[in-house]
Assembly symmetry: C3
Homo-oligomer: 158 residues x 3
């Protein structure tokens, strides 16, 4: 059986998301099986622009859905974001090196058939609907996450 890694993607920060997807894709490159579990702010990484649902949402869910990013490229940095200035500088530096953008890394992860889990409880609380997220994402419980993670050889909370 292959060695496996499990990444709990909690943060919705651009830089931490880059780290998570670079690790996930690199792991695939060396033959490891990879599960990514998106919880809380991490679910923003799985949102599909222009798929926002308005029906069946409470007042708070509608506000929450509209003030939070629906496109991973617009996520802020965990530090030195400086109102977007630091983020833009990082983006420019990445472009100078032909480094892939976050959305490219997410696309690569999808093509790599990485297992995407989404946290049911977070989705319930935030009012995120399954159809707003990338279709191959499976909605699971914390217990499902734990069963996958405990049998993995490497687990990180990102």
């Amino acid at each position: 059986m292959n060695h496996r890694i499990n990444l709990l993607m909690f943060s919705g920060d651009y830089d931490k998301a880059l780290a998570g997807f670079i690790l996930a894709n690199s792991a695939k490159d060396i033959g490891l099986d990879v599960t990514m579990f998106f919880a809380f702010w991490g679910l923003f990484l799985m949102r599909q622009p222009d798929k926002t649902v308005e029906n069946d949402k409470t007042f708070y869910e509608k506000i929450f859905g509209s003030v939070t990013p629906d496109n991973p490229e617009t996520l802020p940095l965990s530090k030195m974001n400086m109102g977007g200035l630091g983020k833009q500088m990082l983006i420019n530096m990445m472009k100078d090196k032909n480094a892939p953008r976050l959305i490219d890394l997410i696309q690569e992860a999808r093509e790599n058939k990485i297992t995407f889990f989404g946290c049911k409880l977070s989705m319930d609380i935030m009012g995120l609907k399954k159809e707003e997220l990338i279709p191959e994402l499976q909605v699971v419980t914390a217990q499902d996450y734990l069963r996958d993670a405990i049998s993995s050889n490497l687990q990180l909370f990102i």
Copy 2:
């Protein structure tokens, strides 16, 4: 022997604390043994309101004790806190779904007999006294943490 998980609770953020205690209680539900090691800001999760000690504290320790939260419910979010506005919105959304509050999850963890470790060095530096924290918390060294963590099947830094 049971499988075991070990969560290093470093951050004192409300949202990350929710995640940690949801994982801890879910792990108990599926028969895993759980240790939570509270270090640095994470120790705020173990403070008991109205048990603040003033005696035997230095000038800085007294200030530190009084400007930091002694009630987990008052902890800020790691992001989108917006001076408490984002936090209040999240609390309202959780209430709409009948999701347990952080203090409920902590209470559940106590009833679940989860092992609580507190970092001795952090307590020394911050001037937190054992009697200010939940009674079942054991004060341990980083080495004690490592011995527990290294023999666990899943470890996270939260």
Copy 3:
């Protein structure tokens, strides 16, 4: 073979860096092998003051190199930094207890022969040169990190 731990040092926060190096040195004390992998903001922990290189850097790399800390002692806290006020209070409280400073802990880690890995991709993007960093740091890929981490008994993302 010894048990091994692997710490991915992503954050450049003073408090999280303290935690990482205290764990690393404590692990050595109880006979564990330790690898620290410095990526992104974590690379600031490996910079050597006054070794900043200006040649062969792009416009952005020069700005980035000069606005970011080249001395670990100047790193901010992950929270309650309050423009440096909270940080100074913490430093004073550490001094009261004769707790080692971050630079002391880094020095101890060097003497402990802890394995230091630096993330090649992060260095490329940020324009950090090998000669700006502590000499014993080995520049490695994400795949190299994964190979080391997956065969470790404890891994954390800090």
